[in-house]
């Protein structure tokens, strides 16, 4: 059987849950293929992994596809995975009384310059017409620096955001999943070459992945347990992640849908804020060749 190598940007990130579910529910096997999951350190690394030929299908934002095409790595988004930054929040310590508008002139932690959290911070600056300093502290530095008071606020990803609001250490002052207009934040991406030479393999892979999404929606308990295990977190937080993130993921993944083009364009526009210069037209980063047919468990 053919093997599809799935590249995932972080372990505690919903794509991992999807891929793991597909593996555990034997959805890839049902499609007659095998899957091999590799976890990278971030989106950019995942993209490099695919470009280096170490991954066949990955999950990343459109901006990287666009930048990659300018750098000689030809790939496209074949399936729409999410239309928002679910679970991402602008957070302040619980004791803090700061509102979003009060952040003017303050310091806000992001993971890295140019990363997803940076884009959201830049969007905040633009949208709320305020100005604050973005401080890149790395994924591991977000909460420690927030709690230690080195920064006034932080852009926190899920499920970390749920975890610290649950523990009472921090609270959300802006929920990006609702605040930012819907845009294509992440999709499944393959190299053009693979799409041409092995379209069957790609089709089967997206089938299995969207089969997994369908399965997760239908099986709350199993999924919450899986999340708790994968993320090493208590079930309450896993449940929050399930309700606020997993349930909001795209179920069809169809890139031919009417709203997709605009959503991709918006996503690229946001990336421009973060300093992305290598922009190609929205239609060049997507491929409508594959419409997922969710595998039945």
């Amino acid at each position: 059987a053919d093997t599809i190598r799935v590249g995932l940007p972080t372990k505690t990130y919903w794509p991992t849950t999807i891929a793991e579910t597909a593996v555990r529910q034997k959805l890839f096997e049902k499609e007659g293929i095998q899957a091999e999951l590799t976890i990278y350190r971030s989106g950019a690394e995942t993209f490099e992994g695919m470009a280096a030929g170490a991954a066949d299908i990955i999950l990343d934002p459109p901006s990287l596809v666009s930048a990659g095409r300018k750098k000689g790595v030809m790939s496209r988004i074949v399936a729409n995975a999410a239309m928002g930054n679910f679970g991402w929040q602008l957070m302040v310590p619980t004791k803090s009384t700061l509102e979003v508008k009060d952040l003017n002139g303050k310091k806000v932690a992001i993971t890295a310059a140019g990363s997803g959290s940076d884009l959201l911070a830049l969007w905040t600056i633009q949208d709320k017409k305020i100005d604050f300093t973005r401080v890149p502290v790395g994924g591991g530095g977000l909460v420690p620096n927030l709690l230690a008071g080195n920064v006034e606020a932080a852009v926190v990803y899920s499920p970390l955001s749920f975890q610290i609001s649950k523990s009472g250490e921090a609270k959300s002052i802006l929920d990006y999943s609702t605040a930012v207009p819907p845009n294509l934040t992440a999709g499944w991406i393959v190299l053009d070459k693979l799409a041409e030479t092995k379209p069957q393999l790609v089709q089967k892979a997206v089938n299995a992945l969207y089969g997994a999404v369908a399965f997760m929606r239908a099986n709350r308990d199993v999924t919450v347990k899986l999340i708790a295990e994968l993320y090493e977190m208590p079930p309450e937080i896993a449940a929050l992640e399930y309700d606020n993130t997993i349930m909001k993921l795209e179920t069809s993944g169809d890139m031919g849908a009417a709203n997709v083009n605009a959503a991709v364009q918006l996503s690229l526009d946001l990336a421009k804020l973060g300093g992305l210069k290598d922009i190609v037209p929205a239609e060049d980063v997507i491929s409508t060749k594959f419409k997922p047919v969710p595998t039945k468990p």
Binding site: T38, I39, Y40, E48, G49, A54, G140, L160, Q163, E232
Partner: protein, 251 residues
């Protein structure tokens, strides 16, 4: 022998003192216990983690990668280092280049390793090797340069071959410097492999540690760090054991 007992006691005392300080800082809240979980919590977590089959497997994977990379890098690096020190021409050509390569942050090249080896055992070992070899080369070169001329003259007068000189004169006189280099190399090697695992991986303890770090799971993170440190310390002790066996002629 009673001296070494005293030293061991002193060492244990220092370790206990550090642990006590750690525990106290955290318990009294001088340091936010969320940022620095107490020693007892960390070790409890460590105990839990070690029970897990997945963690055991990760440790095994990492250990195998580290040892393989080390077993490749040390002899190979020592050989090059020796050639550089022995052969003036080779030294003139290679020394600046090697030194130069050493001062570049290696993590920049991680994508290249994925490009060449894909993601997996070979890539981790390759990067571990790459992170280690330069320090091995450089330390070997220095060690060679500190060998006493009289000893070489004596060996030459007995018609020692190149190999004999290497193993019977260079090696023993270089031993203290070399063993120290071995230690440092091991640390570089370990860091290299862990970095590679953090970067892209299917298994290995580095991959776990990165995840814990990004999710603010401080207990697990510290426990993971303790694990890695324990591996390195075990190795350290091994080197030290060799050292005490080989250097008793020094006083």
């Amino acid at each position: 022998m009673q001296g070494s007992l005293a030293i061991n006691l002193a060492r244990i005392a220092i370790i206990l003192a550090v642990l006590a300080l750690w525990e106290a800082l955290s318990r009294t809240g001088i340091v936010n216990p969320r940022l620095l979980p107490s020693a007892s919590d960390t070790f409890a977590t460590l105990g839990d983690l070690l029970q897990r089959a997945a963690v055991q497997k990760d440790l095994m994977v990492t250990a195998t990668e580290v040892l393989t990379a080390f077993a490749l890098a040390v002899p190979f690096g020592a050989l090059i280092g020796f050639l550089v020190a022995e052969n003036r021409y080779f030294a003139d050509v290679a020394k600046p280049l090697l030194f130069f390569a050493f001062s570049i942050p290696k993590s920049i090249f991680l994508p290249m390793f994925i490009l060449v080896f894909g993601v997996g055992f070979a890539q981790k070992v390759g990067f571990g090797f790459f992170s280690t070899i330069f320090i091995v080369i450089m330390s070997t070169t220095t060690a060679v340069e500190s060998v006493k001329v009289e000893h070489l003259t004596v060996a030459r007068s007995y018609g020692a071959t190149r190999m004999q000189t290497a193993f019977r004169v260079y090696l023993p006189s270089m031993l203290p410097v070399l063993l120290e280099a071995l230690r440092i190399s091991m640390i570089f090697n370990l860091t290299g492999v862990i970095l590679a695992e953090m970067y892209a991986s299917r298994d290995g303890i580095g991959h776990q540690i990165a995840t814990w770090g990004e999710n603010f799971q401080m207990k697990q993170l510290l426990a993971g760090v303790v694990m890695v440190a324990a591996i390195a310390m075990t190795f350290n002790e091994l080197v030290r054991w060799v050292e005490t066996r080989c250097s008793h002629w020094r006083t």
